[in-house]
């Protein structure tokens, strides 16, 4: 009887701990959403907000952001750099993953290690190194330099995701296609690529999200011209902190949720295709 009681208490303790942990994970992100509608320039809930007084809420910070040319320019920069880096990383990363998946690949562990290393190298070292290197070859403060840098940071995600998808791809399908008369290119485009496409898209999305959230390299390498959304937020947090940032943050949260659901959906698709 007593032992049962202890066990039950232990179980409830465990549940309570987990609940607290989940609150710790999610609450900070959730808190931002209502605060971004604050009518006052404060980072906390006003009394009016707590009373759910409609007067205390407004869209003024969203309006601020939309009207501010710096933000729209940052958005365009982020989209341009992100898309170009994603295309580059996805194309190269997918090819590399295909090579690494081949049982004939020599030195696989070492090469994988090198290809994944941008993901674990401290970002400050990457940023500083790129700052010195790209300046010395005339690509400092340029879109090209940032695109190359972000592609290098995003490629590991593509390699990992596509490799994981390829591990679920049955190579016998390629033999089957060959036995039916399909040449190498047709085998790839008609059979393999459609089946690993969900993995390629997820990898691309990871790469885009990496670029879309990257601030340190931009901080060191980018000039005024190349300010991206994270770079703009960085100055916002460091210098003139205003609730406009919260409006941007809500936009980025929406992007994150969208990206997350897309990746989950793609994963479901690739699991189905097996």
């Amino acid at each position: 009887m007593n032992a049962l009681l202890v066990r039950r208490a232990g179980h409830y303790g465990f549940i309570a701990f987990c609940a607290a942990a989940f609150i710790f994970l999610v609450a900070p992100i959730l808190v931002i959403v209502p605060l971004s509608f604050n009518a006052e320039p404060y980072f906390t809930f006003t009394e009016g907000m707590l009373r759910l007084d409609p007067e205390a809420y407004s869209l003024r910070w969203y309006q601020n952001v939309i009207e501010d040319e710096a933000w729209s320019r940052a958005l365009i920069n982020s989209l341009v750099i992100g898309s170009a880096a994603t295309l580059l990383a996805t194309a190269l990363g997918t090819l590399a993953a295909l090579g690494l998946a081949s049982p004939a690949m020599p030195g696989r562990a070492l090469i994988t290690g090198i290809l994944i290393s941008p993901m674990v190298t401290p970002i400050i070292i990457v940023a500083v190194g790129m700052f010195f290197f790209y300046s010395s070859i005339g690509l400092g403060q340029s879109y090209t330099g940032l695109i190359l840098a972000h592609a290098a940071l995003g490629a590991p995600f593509v390699v990992i995701t596509v490799t994981a998808t390829l591990s679920g791809f049955d190579p016998i399908l390629l033999r089957a296609a060959a036995s039916l008369g399909a040449g190498p290119l047709r085998r790839f485009f008609r059979v393999q690529l459609p089946l690993i496409a969900p993995g390629v898209f997820s990898g691309g999305l990871f790469a885009f999200a990496t670029s879309f959230d990257e601030v340190v390299v931009v901080l060191f390498m980018g000039g005024l011209e190349q300010r991206t959304i994270p770079r703009q937020m960085w100055s916002g947090i460091r210098e003139q902190i205003s609730p406009s940032i919260l409006a941007v943050a809500v936009f980025l949260i929406a992007f994150a949720v969208l990206a997350l659901f897309t990746v989950q959906w793609l994963r479901g698709r690739s699991a189905q295709a097996r």
């Binding site: 032992a3 066990r7 465990f14 987990c18 942990a21 994970l25 999610v26 900070p28 992100i29 980072f43 906390t44 809930f45 190269l92 990363g93 090819l95 590399a96 090579g99 690494l100 081949s102 004939a104 020599p106 562990a109 090469i111 994988t112 290690g113 290809l115 994944i116 290393s117 674990v120 401290p122 970002i123 400050i124 070292i125 990457v126 500083v128 790129m130 010195f132 790209y134 010395s136 840098a149 592609a151 290098a152 490629a155 990992i160 994981a164 959230d213 601030v215 340190v216 994270p230 937020m233 947090i237 940032i245 919260l246 943050a249 980025l252 949260i253 992007f255 994150a256 997350l260 990746v263």
Partner: protein
């Protein structure tokens, strides 16, 4: 070894990315690391001065030739706008030299040559009489140097040529490195303590609830780092949500709002929040593969829940603990953004020091030496990770 058939195809597919990473990523790292030990600027700009100092004993001022050489090379550097590249490194070895060099360079141009450059220079600035000045120039003029590493490791070269620890009060970098390692270890343990139970809950819940709980880990994982850091500022700052709540509830007086951010607490909290998903996800994927019948079997054999957990469940989750722990630790010791934004003065880590030396003090050699120490640490851990867990087993989300 002959390359043909599938082997050649595999290599050819991997080559473009490998070349790209080598050019866009490895080459920049190489550039950075070379700066830690290779400083050709002074040697390139003052070649004749350094040649004239060759063979100088170091006692008393050097020979006239050295004075004559520097009197020619300094104004030349000024005109070519390369003088800063000399002034910075020399000034770091003997403070005040930046001023001495720039002034001398400017004044030598207008000085009439009156037989002795030695007297002329000493006339401009008496510092030229001191052997230290020349020693500093000579030291800065060595192309390959380990002095940045000495400094980064809080070592110094004593006058007798031996190498020893700097006096305790001027040791900066080793304590910072230790602090970084300790913070990383602390964050890793905290992530494990929080992440283990929730990973277990997610892995053992029925599918629908499990998916919902997993989303609560994945949403922060996907959310921008800056957004999450901003969120913590909003929550923790003096006028922030938590302080306001505490004041409103009467738990803290308005005048004694808690200092929870712009210090180590801020760094610690925000880093744990950011890195927690990296712990939960590998743990979850390991725990999901443990059949629930194992615990039932342990119970049927007479083990109580604690014994069952320690003897049966925990050992099977060790790969997940290793994977998550190493990953969090690797990411933590290189952390930059969060400490920079919410760390204040006391919450800075080694990465922030590197940024400081690049952006503010412009001591790039030292920044590079610190970077290479950090890089070696991270790559060592990465190697352990790949041996223990295998890089190809890394999964995202």
């Amino acid at each position: 070894m002959r390359l043909r058939g599938p082997r050649a195809t595999a290599v050819a597919l991997t080559l473009p990315l490998l070349a790209f990473i080598a050019a866009s990523f490895v080459a920049p790292l190489g550039t950075l690391l070379s700066k830690s030990a290779y400083e050709p600027n002074v040697a390139n700009i003052l070649p004749r001065t350094l040649a004239a100092l060759d063979g100088w004993s170091g006692d008393g001022p050097p020979a006239e030739a050295a004075f004559a050489a520097i009197a020619e090379e300094l104004p030349k550097a000024r005109q070519e706008r390369t003088l800063v590249r000399v002034a910075g490194p020399v000034n770091r070895l003997k403070s005040g030299m930046r001023r001495v060099l720039t002034r001398t360079a400017r004044q030598v141009e207008t000085t009439e040559f009156a037989g002795s450059w030695r007297e002329a220079l000493i006339g401009i600035n008496p510092a030229w009489e001191e052997p230290d000045t020349w020693l500093a120039i000579q030291a800065a003029g060595t192309r390959f140097t380990l002095r940045h590493y000495l400094q980064a490791l809080d070592l110094e070269r004593r006058p007798d040529g031996s190498i020893g620890l700097q006096p305790e009060e001027s040791r900066i970098y080793m304590p910072l490195l230790w602090r970084t390692l300790l913070v990383s270890l602390g964050v890793t343990l905290l992530c494990l303590a929080i992440g283990y139970p929730i990973a277990h809950l997610i892995a053992t819940s029925p599918p629908k609830r499990s998916n919902l709980l997993l989303l609560m880990v994945l949403v922060p994982f996907w959310t921008s780092l800056l957004v999450r850091t901003t969120a913590w500022i909003v929550l923790l700052q003096r006028q922030g949500v938590i302080n306001s709540l505490l004041v409103a509830l009467g738990l803290t007086p308005d005048s004694e709002r808690l200092e929870m951010i712009y210090n180590m607490t801020g760094t610690f909290t925000a880093m744990t929040h950011v890195l927690l998903p990296f712990m939960v996800l590998p743990l979850y994927s390991v725990m999901r593969s443990i059949p629930p019948t194992h615990m039932a079997a342990a119970a049927s054999l007479g083990a109580n829940p604690v014994q069952g957990f320690i003897r049966v469940y925990l050992p099977q989750t060790l790969p997940g603990i290793g994977a998550g722990g190493l990953l969090v630790f690797i990411l933590a010791i290189g952390y930059y953004i969060t400490p920079a934004l919410v760390g204040g003065r006391s919450g800075q880590l080694i990465s922030n020091m590197i940024a400081y030396h690049v952006q503010t003090s412009l001591n790039w050699g030292l920044a590079a030496a610190l970077s290479s120490i950090l890089l070696v640490a991270v790559l060592g851990l990465y190697l352990i990770y790949s041996r223990l867990i295998g890089i190809d087993r890394m999964r995202l989300g």
